[in-house]
Amino acid sequence: MNQTPKIQLRGVAKAFGRKVVLDGVDLDVGVGESVVIIGGSGTGKSVTLKCILGLLSPDKGSVKVDGEEVVGMGSSSRERVNRKFGMLFQGAALFDSLPVWENVSFGLLAEKRCNRSQAKDIAIEKLAMVGMDAAVADLMPAELSGGMQKRVGLARAIAADPEIIFFDEPTTGLDPIMADVINDLIVKVTREVGATALSITHDMASARKIANRIAMLYQGKIIWQGPVADIDKADNPYVDQFIHGRAEGPIKMAVRA
């Protein structure tokens, strides 16, 4: 690939107090590519996404978006770059003071790309894409189940047709059928609309379906990455243990019996 990658991370490090979470992450995401990050709970996958978005500032390293360095960027340039992004948060992070439709079309309204009545129509359309009917649009987020909130969060992330979309565990908390609907949707926005996607998931079936490439994060570093097809012959004991979900192996969980 001699094209500039959409997102490029080099030596990104982040610690909270003494706890080192990221310790030199290198990762490239090409234009229109869909990369999935896998890794154990608490290894810093969400932190990685937040470092790219500037919600957390890395202690060291470089993050480039479209070839432009964003670490240490001033707030107005940062706002401009962030317009390229859409993000589904792990906990949905819906605005609980606004009805569902205003949540979904929040970004569009903020950028003044439509008026309020158009915004509602667009919201209903996006909600339909995540399998929710128009009656939901007027409910408040607190009236929804966890899985429904997640899907509203997803609709919100894609509503403004961003160039780059981050999905933090898009299928967690959904039933298997709805999870597959969401997988198809992610595939659709990346393959058809041409968006670049960086997703986090623990669901290997989902990862195999939505990813072009998979990267595994372990102890603050990307220890393996490669095309989806290669993951079963990765010949890496950590990856092997993770994708087969075995308690025995080189990855030790801090559990005492």
Partner: protein
């Protein structure tokens, strides 16, 4: 161990906090004057801060006025009490008790609710979500609340002034048996624009302090429900202390120059 070490550490921590607060204030203020503005949110906050605080402020003011009249009667009974009581009530209410009592009561009500609301948004990542949706959280959350605080507090205090003076009137006329017309005349004679104005300026400053403390502590809260609880307490305590502190500073500015 060097005994000065802990003192130095506390001092450094204090400086760091003061710096953070100043940066936050500067950023919040700069966003109040730069577009985009959020009139819808400013309006809702004005109703929340102003309209819904009326009962609390009204009750506080009426009892403050009543007790002032009663207390000053005990003190002034030997002299010509009628004029003195009207004077004490109207001066104390407009200069001091109106702004300070209303400020403290509303600090409890609004400081706490702002800190809890914004703090919850912080710990549930809603503030992060704003950033990813082309919205600056300082502009969307903090600036409208600062504006609403500064605009609504003077109105609340004006209401408190009127109700407080009315409380004094009730006690003076119905309990102490003064002549109603004389009492009102005395009140009117002693009332000066400067007293009322100084109270309103104080009110605007207190409104800013309450909104700022609520937003600041909420915005910087961390660690779930407990963190939000701490933020709420800190917002109310710091707003109350700052109100009393700035009350002194402003009083000195207004009334010692001649």
């Amino acid at each position: 161990m060097n005994p000065l070490q802990p003192i130095g550490r506390v001092f450094l921590k204090f400086l760091a906090t003061a710096g953070r607060l100043l940066t936050f204030t500067g950023s919040g203020l700069s966003h109040t004057v730069r577009a985009p503005f959020y009139p819808r949110i400013i309006g809702r906050q004005m109703i929340d801060i102003g309209y819904y605080s009326l009962p609390v402020v009204g009750l506080t003011a009426v009892f403050a006025g009543m007790v002032l009249a009663l207390q000053s009667y005990t003190g002034f009974a030997r002299f010509s009490a009628e004029g003195a009581i009207a004077n004490v009530v109207v001066l104390s209410i407009t200069r001091e008790l109106g702004p300070v009592l209303a400020g403290l009561m509303v600090a409890g009500r609004i400081g706490a609710s702002l800190a809890a609301e914004i703090g919850t948004m912080r710990v549930t990542e809603q503030i992060d979500a704003l950033t990813t949706l082309s919205t600056n959280p300082m502009k969307y959350l903090v600036a409208p609340r600062l504006i609403a605080g500064v605009l609504m507090f003077p109105i609340l205090v004006l209401v408190a002034d009127v109700i407080g003076v009315f409380g004094g009137y009730l006690v003076a006329v119905y309990k102490l048996g003064f002549n109603a017309a004389n009492y009102l005349q005395n009140t009117w004679d002693f009332l000066t624009a400067e007293d009322v104005n100084s109270g309103l300026v104080k009110a605007a400053v207190f409104g800013f302090i309450v909104s700022l403390m609520g937003c600041y502590h909420g915005y910087n809260s961390k660690g779930g429900a407990q963190g939000v609880g701490t933020a709420t307490t800190n917002a109310v305590v710091s707003a109350s202390i700052l109100i009393l502190c700035f009350d002194y500073i402003l009083t000195e500015m207004f009334f010692t120059k001649h």
